[in-house]
């Protein structure tokens, strides 16, 4: 896309100049205006799509729009008119065929498949097959004309006016269908009106984001917004802001990089969605708030433990990686502890911090599992294993201390050094093994608690527990290879 031979404009790092430069292109002004209108429309309609669970319907309307656009191209009209006619007809059909929420998806899916096939037929009858199909499927925002912008603007204004009129009953019918029916609200009429508004919004949105990526603009911004606020007006405003900023950022990024705008729009929204889900996983679930005191306290300890352990693991991985990089920077050097500390102070400090946080998280895990074990016996084993892990961490620290002090003493008090090294290494080894046992216990316990209380954070923590195990495995393999490096293993000759 990006208007054929366009190859991006030079980025000057002066925002004012850049925006002024962009604004000097008519097609860019059109794109920004259309994108803003469509972002507002998608943000508002999207809120109802999320509330009514009509995400699949909006997806399907986009697909039927494909056949509409293809038909319009075939008869030589603007694709947007074909889009409007086909999506509105489909919306009416959907509303009449299945007005109860539960019975919609099979109907919709059947219509969807047929519509897509029809679009394929139309496009194969047309000559410029690939180019048109591409712009309908993935959007062609930089090709929007001034007349189209005006059409989009007035139609969107109409959609918003109708939506303002039916806002309250639609919201009520979306939330409590049966009561709305008893109160005399026309459910069928409301559903029909909403689906037609949705069809119009989708027809316009297809112009910039394309049929296949419609979900990203119509549904996801609103889905993010409802996760951030439970006030309806705030959610609508937030959803609009997310959609519009994504469209703007996508357009600018597309112009400067010469990659498709649709990708940037969907990509920005996707990253926002992932972040919101990530933050949401840290919140306590309602299920947890409903359980009794000792269990709830236990799960809270486990949440804190998981958070601490995650930080510890990040430090561990980061510190180890930094240490390896430092070591590799001086190949063949013989390292004394003093040199190591001098050259790799920060990685070592990170590793020490990781160890301290790991021990702290193990303490929290132990207290959490112990509280859980008072109500349910299945958490006795994780509590015990965590205690073993704590012992392991202590032994690791002690063994490491002994080993290092042996190394340090090697230059001064010769008599003590062999003793320290002799005991240091096996204690270190035992400590590491026991710590790993503790980790396994924590991971299993975390997973179980996470499943029982629908705690995403704890389940994620359980998976994170695997990281140090993997790290240990990789370290062992690396050690093996380092040992066997001197006589480099001859590559096996493959017999032809």
């Amino acid at each position: 896309m990006s208007g054929g031979g366009w190859s991006g404009i030079p980025w000057s790092w002066n925002i004012v100049t850049d925006v002024r430069l962009l604004w000097s292109f008519q097609f860019m002004r059109n794109a920004i205006e259309a994108g803003t209108i469509i972002g507002i429309l998608a943000g508002i309609i999207g809120y109802f799509v999320v509330l009514r669970r009509s995400a699949f319907a909006s997806h399907a309307l986009g697909h039927t729009g494909f056949s509409g656009a293809a038909a319009a191209v075939l008869v030589g009209a603007q694709p947007v008119y074909g889009l409007l006619i086909f999506t509105m007809a489909t919306a009416s059909g959907m509303a009449v065929l299945g007005n109860r929420a539960s019975s919609r998806d099979v109907t919709i899916g059947t219509v969807l498949a047929f519509a897509l096939g029809l679009g394929l037929l139309f496009l194969s009858l047309y000559n410029g097959y690939a180019q048109e199909a591409y712009s309908i499927l993935f959007g062609e925002v930089l090709g929007i004309s001034t007349a189209q912008v005006a059409f989009t603007f007035w139609s969107s204004l109409g959609v918003l006016a109708v939506l303002a009129l039916i806002y309250r009953p639609l919201l009520f019918a979306s939330l409590d269908e049966d009561v709305a029916e008893a109160k005399g609200l026309p459910l069928l009429g409301l559903n029909l009106a909403f689906l037609i508004l949705l069809a119009v919004a989708i027809s316009f949105a297809v112009q910039i984001i394309g049929v296949l990526l419609i979900f990203g603009l119509m549904v996801t911004p609103a889905a993010i917004a409802v996760r951030l606020t439970s006030r309806s007006l705030s959610a609508v405003i937030l959803s609009v802001l997310l959609a519009v900023t994504a469209v703007w950022a996508g357009l600018f990024a597309a112009l400067w990089t010469n990659y498709p705008a649709s990708f940037f729009i969907v990509g920005i929204i996707f990253v926002e969605y992932v972040c919101v889900r990530g933050v949401g996983a840290l919140r306590e679930t309602a299920l947890l708030q409903a359980v009794d005191a000792p269990e709830r306290d236990g799960v809270r300890s486990l949440r804190n433990a998981t958070l601490t352990a995650s930080v510890s693991q990040v430090l561990l991985v980061g510190g180890a990686a930094a240490l390896v990089v430092t070591l590799l920077a001086f190949p063949g050097a013989v390292w004394s502890p003093a040199e190591l500390v001098a050259r790799a102070l920060w990685p070592l400090l990170a590793l020490v911090a990781a160890g301290v946080l790991g021990a702290a998280s193990s303490l929290l895990y132990f207290s959490g599992f112990r509280k859980m074990a008072t109500s349910s016996r299945e958490f006795t084993a994780p509590a015990f294993l965590t205690l073993v892990g704590l012992l392991g961490i202590g032994l690791t620290a002690g063994g490491l201390g002994l080993f290092l002090s042996g190394e340090a003493l090697a230059s001064t008090a010769y008599g003590l050094a062999p003793v320290a090294e002799l005991f240091g290494v096996p204690i270190l080894f035992l400590g590491v093994v026991l710590s790993l046992v503790g980790l396994v216990g924590q991971a299993v316990g975390n997973w179980r608690v996470g499943l029982r209380y629908e705690e995403g954070a704890l389940r994620a923590g359980a998976i994170l527990m695997v990281l140090p195990l993997l790290g240990y495995g990789i370290a062992c393999l690396g050690y093996q290879r380092a040992l066997s490096r001197e006589p480099a293993p001859a590559p096996l000759s493959v017999s032809g």
Partner: protein, 295 residues
């Protein structure tokens, strides 16, 4: 009609001095017969519910309890007989009835403040041309203050004042039922139809909710019909029981209806009603031989 009501619910006067006869009935049914998809649900129901009564609707699954509610809401029509609700034939969109359905559209993924749902149910004043043209249904609101106050009062009355700003998806089952109750109550209705509000609640929370509902019946004088599977949490507060089974309907006080003789006659097979020392009831027999099902 709602607009004529004072903004505060009147203190309830027990219907002692009210004249007898059909004029003082909240619900009156005469030889009522109902079919669903051309299949007989029940017939020959004749009963009379007076204003301010607390009535339990009991019976096995599929006996036609929800159908009774849908008829009173004007969503289903009797095949024969007379039904009068609040002195008039049932009609859809009757703002004097508050309704809590058994099935709800919202779920754990519904992120919306509770008081929004309650406020949406507020009927508001009638204006514009014709009797069917209400601002609830069409267009923006011009009485946000009244709506907010009504929602606050309804939430307070059901003991959920502190839940107003919470998200619907984050509530427990008992809290959610209180919100639905407030939603039904917000227009100051004269009648409440509650379809299985106690299902999915444990015994303690069932009793708490029944206490709240009974308090509303007494303070607001609102006629209340409650569909339930287990009559025991509310047996001490009830004025009447409507027992629906086997295509027939029996109505009366709990002591009249819940006897071995009446239920045996209803089911057409021998049914035993057992009572323990605290007044709890177990019904043995009936449509199947499981003791816990009937009561």
């Amino acid at each position: 009609m709602v607009a004529d009501l004072p903004s505060h619910p009147p203190v309830y006067q027990p219907p002692l001095g009210s004249p007898a006869g059909s004029g003082s009935s909240a619900i009156r049914a005469e030889r009522l017969e109902v079919r669903y998809r051309n299949k007989l649900v029940w017939k020959d129901a004749t009963f009379d519910i007076r204003p301010g009564e607390f009535v339990a609707v009991i019976g096995p699954n599929g006996a036609g309890k929800t159908t009774l509610f849908r008829m009173m809401l004007g969503l289903h029509w009797p095949t024969s007989g007379v039904l009068s609700v609040l002195g008039a034939p049932p009609r859809r969109g009757n703002y004097r009835i508050g309704y809590v359905p058994q099935r709800h559209t919202l779920d754990r993924e519904t992120h919306l403040e509770c008081d929004k749902l309650v406020r949406l149910a507020y009927p508001g004043k009638r204006w514009g041309p014709g009797k069917r043209w209400r601002p609830l249904q069409w267009g923006p609101r011009f009485q946000l203050g009244a709506e907010r106050d009504a929602a606050e009062r309804a939430l307070e009355d059901v003991g959920a004042a502190d839940l107003g700003s919470k998200s619907l998806g984050s509530l427990s089952g008992g809290e959610l039922q209180r919100i639905f109750l407030a939603e039904a109550l917000v227009g100051d209705p004269d009648m409440l139809l509650l379809d299985e509000p106690l299902s999915n609640l444990d015994l303690r929370r069932s009793r708490e909710l029944v206490e709240t509902i009974h308090g509303l019946v007494r303070s607001r004088g609102v006629t209340t019909l409650l569909v339930a599977h287990d009559i025991n949490p509310m047996i001490k507060c009830l004025n009447k029981v409507i027992y629906i089974a086997n295509g027939k309907v029996a109505v009366g006080t709990p002591n009249e209806v819940l006897t071995s003789e009446r239920l045996s006659a209803l089911y057409g097979v021998h049914v035993e009603v057992l009572r323990d020392s605290r007044g709890n009831i177990v019904i043995v027999g009936g449509e199947d031989e499981r003791g816990e099902e009937g009561a």
